[in-house]
């Protein structure tokens, strides 16, 4: 059996004294889309950050293409094809859109040619004509799209999107769903998508994990998900 692109095996994660993730296991195969559904505080962001090693203290095994990265510093993991787009966007306000995009070029893996700012912006019609705008001049929606575009700049093997639709107008969410499908087809990147918006997640991915109180409570295809919908509803409702 070949190793999946990413495997999280029996991971516990902690913030100081609080135990956030409990024996979480998860796999993402190359070029596939995986949704991670769960309520606020279920542990979605903590799992995303744990995969990058950026924040929580993690106990357990994390493998990238079969090699352990559990003890690799976060900045090196970011250079190994793992690209996390955090839920709070974190656009640098003091530089232009183009410079925000250019800064991510350094995260490209060895031998991979990163996207230029113009190439990355061209993936999303909403960014057209904004390259010279400063980060602080963008609307929330524009910042979110920019954050996703920035995540794609290093041509990651796995894009980790943390609630990209949060706070966005429905029309922008629709656009983004269409763009994500196109971008994934073009780039061949796998996607791990933390979401509360089930229809958006369904549009962008092929399989589902549901997390609740730091434990994985469901894993399967969208068909399995629908078959278990009644049982899963309580893990999703707000």
């Amino acid at each position: 059996m070949t190793s999946p692109l990413l495997e999280v095996r029996d991971c516990d994660a902690f913030y100081d004294d609080s135990h956030v993730l409990h024996a979480v296991s998860l796999r993402v195969a190359a070029a596939t889309g995986v949704a991670l559904l769960g309520r606020n505080g279920a542990g979605k962001s903590t799992l995303m950050k744990s995969i990058l090693g950026a924040g929580p203290t993690v106990r357990g095994e994390i493998l990238l293409e079969g090699r352990s990265i559990a003890r690799t510093p976060a900045y090196l993991r970011a250079g190994m094809g793992l690209s996390l787009v955090p839920e709070d966007r974190r656009i640098f306000p003091h530089v232009t859109v183009a410079e925000n995009l250019a800064m991510a070029r350094r995260a490209a893996r060895q031998g991979v040619e990163a996207l230029t700012p113009a190439e990355a912006a061209a993936l999303f019609p909403m960014l057209e004509g904004l390259l010279d705008r400063k980060g602080y001049q963008l609307s929330g929606g524009q910042q979110q799209i920019l954050a996703v575009a920035r995540g794609l700049v290093p041509r990651p093997q796995l894009l980790l999107l943390d609630e990209p639709t949060e706070g966005l107008a429905p029309i922008i969410v629709q656009d983004m769903a269409a763009q994500m499908t196109k971008v994934r087809a073009q780039s061949g990147a796998a996607l791990l998508l933390a979401e509360q918006n089930v229809s958006f997640a369904r549009h962008c991915t092929e399989s589902v994990f549901v997390i609740d109180s730091g434990r994985i409570v469901f894993e399967g295809s969208w068909t399995d998900f629908d078959a278990n919908r009644a049982r899963l509803e309580r893990f999703l409702a707000v």
């Binding site: 990058l52 950026a54 924040g55 510093p73 976060a74 900045y75 090196l76 970011a78 250079g79 690209s83 996390l84 955090p86 974190r90 640098f92 306000p93 003091h94 530089v95 410079e99 800064m103 991510a104 350094r106 995260a107 920035r150 290093p154």
Partner: protein, 295 residues
């Protein structure tokens, strides 16, 4: 009257640029690492003593080029010390309470003072300026010391060098990014620890360089380290903690207020610096310019 005012302005600018030279590295390090390095003045003093020691061993007189060159050497030497201090002290101070930072860097200042006393003694020393910087020229009826021109030029040069580094060089842009959001910088594969080390090395280098440039401005003694940063603290507080441009503007502002104050009320020299500092803190407690190195 006009000429009196011009003379006061020249005085103010000299004071301001001397202050900015001290403040530049201090505010850069604060902006990026949020460490207020109490020992900054100590390392500045070390730079001054290095130039003094070199001048003495060469017979007491340095040419202008030699003086500049050895100021740069002092800067480089202190920059290397910065790397050592980072490894031994500062890395342990990441994310700890400010009180510990204060105590640790104050202890470092005492250590540097002790080393200076041990090597050069507790007494005072003088560094002669290079010959071309001795004396003054007339600009109309006002007298402008050559040394003032040198200090003002050095201050402006350091401002432009730092501004270019931060806004136009790629390591400088990373330093800015880390100052604003170290976590996101990490996610973009920036080695934040290395950026911290680079910043500390530059900050210490600026201290050593300033020490060299200002060495001939005043007598050297082991108390210089503590004294020299008081005014610099004023400039970085008024300028907005962590802002290089802010420190530059604040130094000029404080210099002008203090010089004109002293001209009008000659019985209280130096007091207007504190008056201006207090007034600024009442009016704009966050300083002239935001809170980052970048604005």
């Amino acid at each position: 009257m006009v000429f009196d005012i011009l003379a006061v302005v020249v005085n103010a600018l000299t004071w301001a640029m001397a202050t900015f030279l001290v403040a530049a590295g201090l505010t850069l390090m604060f902006g990026v690492l949020h460490i207020l390095n109490f020992a900054h003045g100590g390392f500045l003093m070390l730079g001054a003593y290095v130039v003094f020691a070199v001048a003495r061993s060469l017979g007491g007189e340095l040419s202008f080029a030699g003086y500049l060159a050895f100021s740069v050497v002092a800067g480089l030497g202190v920059a290397v010390l910065g790397l050592v201090v980072d490894i031994v002290v500062f890395r342990r101070l990441r994310g700890v309470d400010n009180a510990y930072v204060l105590i640790a860097t104050y202890a470092l200042l005492l250590l540097v003072e002790g080393v200076v006393k041990h090597i050069w003694g507790a007494g005072s020393h003088l560094v002669s300026p290079p010959e071309v910087l001795i004396g003054a020229f007339f600009f109309g009826p006002i007298v402008i010391p050559y040394y003032s021109v040198f200090v003002i030029a050095a201050g402006v040069a350091v401002l432009f060098a730092l501004e270019w580094f931060l806004h136009h060089s790629s390591p400088g842009k990373l330093v800015q990014a880390v100052a604003i959001d170290p976590w996101m910088a990490t996610l973009l594969s920036v080695n934040v620890e290395r950026i911290y080390s680079i910043t500390i090395v530059i900050g210490f280098g600026l201290a050593g360089l300033a020490g060299g440039i200002l060495a001939a401005n005043q007598g050297l003694n082991p108390q210089l380290g503590g004294i020299s940063i008081i005014q610099a603290f004023g400039a970085i507080i008024v300028g907005g903690m962590g802002s290089v441009r802010g420190a530059f503007l604040a130094a000029i502002l404080l210099g002008l207020v203090d010089s004109f104050g002293t001209m009008l009320v000659p019985d209280f020299p130096g007091i207007f610096f504190y008056v201006a500092l207090a007034a600024m803190l009442l009016v704009r407690p966050k300083g002239l310019i935001g809170a980052e190195v970048t604005r």
